[in-house]
Symmetry: C2
Subunit: 107 residues, 2 copies
């Protein structure tokens, strides 16, 4: 796979659950894309030993990070340090696409 | 620092060298912002033991990743796996702002 891509070429949709795809993976980090249709959500969860960041590429949604709950749209950066519960719901009217970096990558 | 921020609130400029700021850092990953004024560049370099990804937030530039050289603009994602040389030059007419995730973080 090329090392230089456009996120728009990798979006997708699933009816039953939000769409997830891996873009890149190394020994130290995974880069993926999560696409949530309006109303879809990723339940609150945490990763004990992984730092994670979301970057909103398009759309907007309701992000929960620990005790913080906030609407965030394009250009927002959302940080979930290891152990901090996080989740997201697409509360908007268009697709919410978030880039996700996770380190280290899942086994 | 809040866990939910907008990149626009963290951009900056320096005359002598491109502007760098750290947004978040955990045990496993660093998230930062690099802002290059037109004509500024980050010389080709590599990190033997760190995976890195750039996300173009605004502007466009000339990215080199190993043997790949490509213009990339807003919405582009550029992957430099550990050991792969990478660099960027702002060849456009406006500021080039790239989000950078690096794992593990520098010591």
């Amino acid at each position: 796979m090329s090392s230089i891509i456009r996120f728009q070429d990798h979006v997708g949709a699933k009816a039953e659950k939000f769409y997830k795809t891996t873009l890149f993976q190394g020994d130290h980090m995974l880069v993926g894309l999560n696409c949530l249709e309006p109303g879809q959500s990723q339940a609150l969860h945490d990763h004990a030993d992984q730092d994670k960041v979301y970057v909103v590429m398009e759309g907007s949604g309701h992000f929960t990070i620990g005790d913080a709950v906030q609407e965030a749209g394009e250009g927002s950066i959302i940080w979930a340090q290891a152990g901090v519960p996080h989740g997201v719901e697409n509360t908007g009217s268009i697709r919410l696409t978030v880039l996700v970096c996770m380190a280290p990558p899942p086994h």
